[in-house]
Subunit: 924 residues, 2 copies
């Protein structure tokens, strides 16, 4: 029994004199709460929802939340607590004691607590939890007496010491060991007692284990295990705050773009027990199917277990439906609550519950994570159900999630053949949809190494943990032997959009020998395996993949054509709504007619970047003759051969694009890229061209550059070899005229000069283009409307955009190169330090993936303002890869660009992101 | 005789309706002038000074000036003239006729005109001149009769047709010929007549030649030579304007940074004749010696000659002193006028005069071009003479001119030996001071090629012309066989600061065989030759060079120590005045104690950039061990060996620099630069280090980058290998503490982190440095004040300078890399297109030589403002090579930087430029 709240540990005492004006602790419980759902930033998601459920009168165990602001304050003040926190916690604890009639640390009727983290957004597996806090050699006896179940009490105590030792005291595996000493001691004990399951151990075994565990703690920390419940509590609070800044938490935040200064709240709640026997249990449920989005109550539970058992995947849980028979009353209550919560939150909910001796308690509710399929389908369905409106539906779907709808499935023939051959090894849980094939890797490190070597890889683990995140990212798919649909592997894989088969219990994985045996068949690291994340099948060997439902409806031909199903219909509905709201145009980066067709099917409204170098690579012989030419005359001769070929390319593109605008970039890459660099290839070229090998070598040598990225490329080629620009312009205009004559469409070429750094470069290149245009129009006796513009991809172009705009009908931000030059980083060479940079949070994001608004974005702002200052109607767009990144799209919307352009498969993502940006701007 | 002024040629008639509000034509002459010296921008330098001399009552032939604005208007309106120009010219011509009692085109007493260009600043040899305009088959007879000298009249006519044919009608050499057809016809005639000099030809010969010349014109232009004087006049005016935009004029403007839109004026003046016989002559003079600056009347003249003969160097002219005996009256008058003009203009003047039949006429005066020696000396002297004040003296000296004072002379021993051996081949005119040695090139192209191959080169020509400018730039020195101190070669060389020996008549140069014979000794292209531009000696073979007077006084030791002479005294005086006015600090870029000593002698106030990589190259073995280390531990071991070596380096620098600030940049270059790239060197390294060759190769391979400029370098090394930064910081602080203990000085290290792109990079590196500093201070029981700052050399650093400044005591603009990234140009690779760019005026200047204010400068402005916004006292400097470029220094002054830093030999230039910038700012 504790009468006085002692001071927090010494190191924190210095903070006493530092006051914090606002309230630090918010209570919740059956009688209502101090907070509510709108206080997510302050209380964290978990705390806000516990308060909300309390206010709704749902059965929530009493507890309190220490706010996220305390965490931020804690890190801003050298890891010390605000002065008033101690008293506030004491008061809140008093309320719980009063509510339950138990006392924290009481020898007779002890209150036990769970301490859990709770950030603004859910970070599964990232933050640590301590259960059964408050147990010691005295209170355990009280618990044993009160519960009439000494085995339960000692098991709780054993779990508490183990968890506290791990999470708070940081006791991990000894060097060279795979498991921590607690787990090893537990396993040893089971072996000694010749039992298989934890549940087979007796109260005496557990009592002995607690003694063992405490000895481990003493040995490793040189201190006794803390017996004082209050000291335990503050230790746990400190551990929650500490876990905010562990490497794994930081890694997760990076992946999920969560700012490091949000901080986490701490939720302290009275324990309820799902492991009190066969009338107790614990489970996780979703108000709709999180994989397909189907409207059906979906969940899993374990009898006689604590929550951690479900998530950890140690035992494979049962389907929620079976609970109806086992405990009809609790099931009915759960069904009522899940309906109420979905309606109340107007979103699919993920619930955690515990049944203690037949009585249901709600431990958590939150918006449920879902696959892309489910996200789109649920959003569309909820509009039909009038739960939400169109705008809300659009805001609900992470644009990236649309990617999943375009993920491959296995080729039907391959799958049939594999099935017939008996290659389907086993079936696990269909935890992450899609089809993946790759080489087996048994560790995250190996998965990364295999991916780095350019090989497809599947991460195969008994179960995954946050340490595996990088390996999961590197893998095409994830297979686990243990764990359910809500296991770590399943949750993270769905979020990443990775294929995942979880809980495939037939897979016997031996990390030491690096082998997996499935029903008698053995696989080694590096062997090929295939996973169907939609069916859960694990298949031997390499299978071909093919388009998803959306792709099959859009592009399927003949037998592969599919009729629209619920996913496609939902996709189409959402895209239609997105187009209603977005104001940004969406174009595509494409340079082949088939790419153009794909992009149009995905909703592209034009081409924002048609690179011409790919065409040159296809006509490499003529291109090489051009480069090897001795003078302008010989070069023009070689270019004459290229002209009809390039014209044909453009005709193909204009035919598909019709009257949509087509932005064509003149030749950009350095010329040496077109010449062979190996001697044998040079020899072959010399022979073919009937010129001396020495000449080829000399040319290659003379074109070699120390920094080709900053060398003789872009418009610098056009300036030094204007005949190349003229040939390209001729091909474009002749093609446009020809297509205009043959079809009813009116091609809209927009000619884009790359790598402009000064106005004069554009002026001179534009003059070449205009001259050719007039020649072609005169010859063809027709005119085609066309624009001339430039990429803004050098800082100097952005800084002098007023001058450049005098010669430009449009600017297109080439943010790939603009990022390279603004940061002074070559994408090709950044591999050596970018990982360290992202890990150390020097770069909040990879600037090549998401636009760096502070640097590159500022240049874009300058360029937009300067460009408009001399040409108010200048057309602005973006054609760097950022054009398909939702956050970058939002920035482009704010900047008032006319369009974004991205690769064909990113077009749906960009459309959705553009709609969200417009909605965000509407809301101000 | 001409009664009506006909319309200008048809193509220009369309401009008639286009009016120009202001006056287009300004008259001058004995009775005074419409303009004056302050109207240089409008009338050009020549026109303004002709007006001024007229106003001073000096004997100027009457004439008029068509303004520079007409030239600008002409190019802005498709090469047409303003509508009123015709009438204005007619009126001005009438005034000349009235003044002289002659009439333009009159058969009896014809007025002849010279038509000359005249831009705001003198552009020697760039613009074309037509003399004797107004001659035709009728007027030549009038001239013959009036002058009583038919030979003179026909020679004038011959010269006119030749000059008009060349300049106005553009008749150059036939393909394959070296000389134009007029020159060839003239030479043929002399051979036929078996005479050597032009003057030996008779009136009949000249009459015949005029017929030949007109036939040549007819053949080449398909038109008759224009007989109508007015048509001749408009043709010449058009040619003057046309010559403003010839390639050679544009090239000169680029070299001299003259804007293309200034335009040129046209000066039309009545002809006076220096070739009327032995009482006539023409000459050029300077009011002081343009080479040494000595106060002595200095000049050259030719009897019985026209001005072109002096400049062209066809005959070697006589010294001005001899005129006193020949024509004492004219000489006295000239002496009076030169004194008057120098006093009036308060500057050394360059005069052109003609004596017609004993009567002196002033044809031009202008500020005289001078060597750097002369510029410094004249400026200092004139202050003493109370002609100008200190400020004016400072403004008079082109900072670049100071460079010449630091140019080498030949090593005395070498010169003595060469003289003793009879290697002094001949003596020409000492036209450009300094000593140069190099391989002979007979053409500008060859000179450029030799320089490109890294060899020193001397351009050896009979005479030079504007076409040779690039070759002159490439050469260490220039030797001509013909021409005086005012020849093209001499003028241009002095301006460029090149060594030049002119008019070395013993040199017989044969372009066809590419040989030169000097008094029986023959030299081939590529042979070594040496030139002493101070004595005019031409010396066989390669001679060692040594320091100039200023250098010898400052640094000479033992026998090589010199006492201050007039040049050194003037230099010192000017530098003292510069320091009085400048507010910008001047530091140096140096990383060796001897460099530091040099820089301090030149007035450096600290080090702005001490690169540490050179030190690493000297300790390459330990550095290689560092790089080849397998892990951080092994690396730290290797770094331990480097520590004492690097500490010693810094001790040496701190000892020299005393209490002056020393900015030290941490390691910057990519690591692969320290490893050997040739297999045999790799093999040797492997052997030496006792590691497998494969390991060396693998390391080199792994460090190879596609774009090393944008790769793993700068602070990216320090972030990934913090142990390197720590070792460097330790070496710096230990050295500073040691020097502080041993001397009374207090070293001021300023540690500079390179290639920072985000605030966090600096924060992390600064933390490493601070930690080491505290460790060292504790160990050494002393504290050294120090700063930590960063280079601003990436656009992103400039754009986010507010955030970076939170961790920086100072910024130093690294404008070399900032220019590379802002333009997206690698300096190493720009060779292929930068020449085309500068030639086509796409880049007004090479941005690596002179700061690009629109792009790079704008980023500097942003960085300064942002940096000061979060840290108002942030110290700003520049350490790129622009720190020694006067125009860039001026920009840095405007930006309010604290200091510029440049190489030791540029320190005097920077001090002078900084003073001029301060004076310019004072004047607003």
């Amino acid at each position: 029994m504790v009468n006085l709240m002692p001071a927090p540990p010494k190191s924190k005492r210095r903070a006493k004199n530092k006051a914090r004006g606002s309230r630090n602790v918010y209570s919740f419980g059956p009688g209502g709460a101090d907070g509510n759902r709108d206080m997510r930033n302050l209380l964290g998601g978990k705390g806000a929802n516990l308060a909300e459920m309390s206010n709704l009168g749902l059965p929530v165990p009493p507890g309190f939340t220490i706010t996220t602001e305390v965490c931020t304050w804690y890190y801003a003040h050298g890891e010390q607590y605000p002065a008033t926190l101690r008293d506030e916690v004491r008061e809140a604890l008093g309320k719980i004691e009063a509510e339950l009639g138990k006392r924290f640390g009481d020898a007779e009727n002890p209150l036990l607590l769970s301490v859990r983290s709770g950030a603004r957004v859910s970070m599964p597996g990232m933050m640590d939890t301590v259960l059964n806090l408050g147990l010691n050699d005295v209170t355990v006896e009280g618990l044993a007496k009160r519960s009439g179940n000494p085995r339960f009490a000692w098991d709780a105590y054993r779990r508490f010491v183990q968890m506290y030792g791990d999470v708070v005291l940081g006791i991990g595996p000894d060097p060279g060991e795979e498991f921590d000493p607690f787990t090893l001691a537990l396993e040893k004990r089971k072996i000694r007692r010749r039992v298989e399951n934890d549940t087979d151990l007796t109260a005496d075994d557990l009592m002995e284990l607690v003694r063992n565990f405490k000895a481990i703690v003493k040995k490793r920390t040189k201190k006794d295990f803390p017996d004082d419940p209050v000291e335990q509590l503050w230790g746990a609070v400190g551990a929650v705050f500490g876990s905010w800044n562990t490497r794994r938490a930081i890694a997760y935040r990076q992946m999920s773009n969560i700012p490091g200064d949000w901080g986490t709240a701490v939720n302290v709640m009275a324990m309820v027990f799902g492991n009190l026997g066969e009338t107790s249990g614990t489970g996780v449920a979703f108000t709709r199917d999180p994989a397909s989005g189907e409207k059906t109550f979906y969940g899993e539970y374990l009898m006689n277990a604590q929550g951690e058992d479900v998530v950890a995947g140690i035992r494979t849980p049962e389907k929620i439906a079976s609970l109806q028979k086992r405990m009809p009353k609790a099931y009915r209550e759960l069904l009522r609550i899940q309906k109420l919560l979905e309606k109340h939150y107007r979103d699919m909910q993920d619930l955690e519950f515990t049944i203690e001796d037949g009585r249901l308690f709600m431990l958590q509710c939150r918006a449920g994570k879902r696959t892309g399929f489910a996200a789109v389908r649920i959003a569309a369905d909820m509009v039909r159900e009038r739960l939400i409106d169109k705008k809300e539906a659009l805001k609900r779907v992470d644009p990236e999630a649309l990617n999943q709808l375009l993920q491959p499935v296995f080729a039907a023939a391959d799958l049939k053949r594999a099935r017939a051959a008996g290659y389907v090894l086993t079936k696990g849980l269909n935890a992450g949809p899609g089809a993946a094939t790759g080489r087996i890797a048994f560790t995250a490190e190996q998965a990364e190494a295999t991916a780095k070597a350019g090989e497809p890889v599947l991460l195969v683990r008994v179960e995954t943990s946050p340490e595996d995140i990088k390996g999961m990212q590197a893998a095409q798919g994830i297979l686990t032997a243990r764990g359910g649909m809500t296991s770590h592997a399943a949750l993270v894989a769905r979020q990443m959009g990775k294929v995942c088969v979880a809980g495939a219990g037939d897979c016997a994985i031996d990390y030491k020998t690096r082998r997996m045996t499935v029903r008698g068949r053995t696989f080694r690291e590096g062997d090929y395996l295939s996973l169907d994340g939609s069916t859960g099948e694990v298949i031997q060997g390499e299978l071909k993949t093919e388009p998803s439902e959306v792709l099959a409806v859009l592009f399927g031909k003949g037998k592969r054509k599919r009729k629209p199903g619920p996913v496609f219909r939902a996709y189409q509905q959402m895209m239609k709504w997105a187009d209603e709201y977005r104001t940004l145009g969406v174009r595509t980066n494409a340079d082949q007619p088939d790419q153009c067709e794909t992009a149009i099917a995905f909703g592209a409204e034009g081409i924002g970047l048609c690179r011409t170098e790919h065409m040159f690579f296809e006509k490499i012989d003529a291109m090489r003759r051009t480069i090897l030419a001795d003078d302008a005359k010989e070069r023009e001769q070689a270019l004459k051969e290229l002209l009809p070929l390039q014209r044909k390319d453009f005709e193909g593109i204009f035919k598909v694009m019709g009257s949509r605008p087509v932005t064509i970039r003149t030749l950009d890459p350095p010329l040496h890229e077109f010449l062979p660099h190996e001697e044998k290839d040079q020899r072959a070229l010399a022979k073919q061209m009937r010129i001396p090998l020495a000449k080829v070598k000399a040319k290659v040598e003379s074109l070699t550059e120390l920094n080709p990225m900053l060398g003789h490329r872009g418009c610098r080629l056009g300036i030094t070899y204007p005949e190349i620009t003229r040939m390209q312009a001729r091909a474009i205009f002749e093609a446009a005229c020809n297509v205009a004559k043959r079809t009813k469409k009116r091609p809209q070429p927009e000619i884009m000069i790359p790598l402009v750094g000064t106005a004069d470069e554009l002026r001179l290149q534009a003059a070449e283009v205009r001259t050719v245009a007039e020649e072609v129009f005169a010859k063809k006796k027709t005119r085609i409307p066309y624009l001339i513009g430039t990429m803004i991809e050098l800082p100097r172009a952005a800084l002098t955009a007023d001058k450049i705009a005098e010669h430009a009908d449009f600017f297109s931000f080439g943010t790939n190169d603009l990022t390279q030059t603004t940061f002074g980083i070559s994408r090709d060479d950044a591999g050596k330090f970018i990982p360290v940079y992202v890990e150390d949070e020097i770069y909040p994001d990879d600037p090549f993936a998401s636009l760096d608004t502070a640097g590159v974005g500022r240049l874009m702002k300058i360029a937009s303002a300067e460009g408009r200052s001399t040409r108010s109607d200048i057309k602005l767009g973006i054609c760097g890869e950022h054009g398909g990144d939702p956050r970058s799209v939002n920035f482009c919307h704010e900047l008032g660009l006319e369009y974004v352009s991205c690769s064909p498969f990113r077009v749906p993502v960009a459309r959705m992101a553009a709609a969200q940006a417009a909605l965000k701007a509407q809301e101000g």
